[in-house]
Amino acid sequence: MDELPDVPALRTLEPPAGGLAALRDRLAGRPSRRRLWRWVPAVAAAAAIAVLVLGRAPRRADVVTPVVVREPSVGVPFYWVASTPGPRRMPRADVRIEDAPAVTTIVLR
């Protein structure tokens, strides 16, 4: 009762011939061509992921150097300073200067 039926699925099989030679090749760093093909799906998947990641990466913001323009009509220490905040393009707006000529605040509306 403690024995299994005698069927091919349970019989001891002989390994494929040439096992030791193939192992020597593996140890010598000569992978079989069949093993090399295993890397093809992995490389393709890595390339697809790289394309997706690079495609979604934010583009580098355009750096705009502030431009300083002297305004002698307002006062000696007054300058117009123009800049844009990061890559976002600011909409056109009215500019109001408070407390001229001692300017402290510029509000964009």
Binding site: P5, V7, P8, A9, E14, P15, G19, L23
Partner: protein, 168 residues
């Protein structure tokens, strides 16, 4: 004593020649394919080769079986995932259709596949490794007495399942 590179190589090849058949048969009962089973065995020997400097060659056979079982389980899982995603896999080799016992053979395979791994690993190690129960217990990390009880449980489950399938 194996301290020189050539001595390590000789010891590894001796181990391979002595246990190739047992290791192959253990791996085969997980992957059911000759080339996959041989790949598993070779992968195990590549790992042994990387560990050669720290290896106790007198106990290397048990370690080889431990590694083969781990790799065979992994290969089996990856084959299942590939099938689930519809990726191509090599079909399990079918039993010889010319044999009168082909249906019984297929049923036994499915019974082995249905066993939980704690029973399956013990069963295939007892059937094919040629190791004694103490060595099998050490390779699997279980008590010696557990080897016999799990083997009996595995056989009983297979026989019961075969009866359910009409092969009693």
């Amino acid at each position: 004593m194996h301290t020189q590179p050539q001595a390590h190589r000789d010891a590894l090849e001796e181990l391979y020649v002595a246990h190739e058949r047992g290791l192959y048969n253990v791996a085969y009962r997980y992957v059911w394919h000759a080339e996959d089973a041989r790949d598993v065995v070779h992968d195990a020997f590549v790992r042994l080769w990387r560990k050669r400097a720290a290896l106790d060659w007198d106990r290397a056979a048990g370690l080889a079986y431990t590694i083969v079982l781990g790799l065979a389980r992994n290969r089996r899982r990856s084959l299942a995932i590939r099938r689930a995603f519809g990726l191509p896999v090599r079909d399990a080799e079918r039993p010889d259709a010319a044999l009168a016992a082909a249906r019984l053979d297929a049923a036994v395979r499915s019974c082995i596949d249905e066993l939980p791994d704690r029973l399956r690993s013990v069963l295939v190690m007892c059937q094919y490794s040629g190791l004694d129960h103490a060595a099998i217990a050490a390779a699997l990390g279980i008590a010696v007495g557990t080897v016999g009880s799990r083997r009996s449980e595995a056989v009983a489950r297979i026989r019961a399942r075969l009866e359910e399938l009409g092969h009693g």
